[in-house]
Amino acid sequence: MMQRRDFIKGSLLLSAAALFNPELYRHRLLAFEEAIEITYDQAVEAFSAGKKSVDGSALITLDIPTRPGSAVTIPVEINVKSPMNDEDYISAIAILTTKNKVNKAVTVDLSPANGMAYLFANIKLGETQEVVVLAKTNKGVIYKASKKIHVALSGCE
């Protein structure tokens, strides 16, 4: 009798170990871990490192369709007025969203070798929201401009 009991205990332990073996769920765990959400505040903090942004709607020209046909590819065109010489230039531009799960789309590093502060990129939006553009000068001043984009169908599955 004792032998049979030991055998049952042992087999139960083994099957429990197999059930909780993380190797079997590795692909699931990886998929969960890799999907990192970035809130809007985190995205702003990562770009500006604690500095407050200044209203730059006079300097930054945004060209985004207000009601795009498809939310999967929304063209965003940015022009920033800047002399782009060695003393005064735009060093970085970021396109951020406000209500996506990951609120960071594209960041570019510029230098006087570019000759112009311009960026074109395609982004996707999950719902109707504001698109925020931040432009950083070499002196650390951050200009902000935004535009509300109306989306009929979500661009994220």
């Binding site: 998929a31 970035i38 969203t97 990951v102 960071k104 594209v106 510029l110 311009y118 960026l119 996707k124």
Partner: protein, 110 residues
Amino acid sequence: MAKRRAVIKIIDKKYAIGDVVKVQVIIIHPMETGFAKDKHSGALKPRFYVKKIEIYYNDKPVTSFELDVSASQNPKIKFPLKITEAGTLKVRFINSENEVTEKTTKVKPK
């Protein structure tokens, strides 16, 4: 390591030394967010996207882009560049699995 289709091209047709031109780069690449489910199996599709784009003008780094999953799939980007000399323009795409795709184009100012 699948071979990916990508392109780098100078949009302006005629330019001289000192001009500012616009350059366009495109790569055919999915942008999986990691939140979407597969329609057939129901499992989450792992995150897979273009992480970084680097531009080299005569092997000197000029501009770099950092992308995240909110960029659209098959990312298309245009940026300005001041032409200083003839030579080559190279783009390096790096995706989330550190796979590198490189393309070059010639700079011929007239």
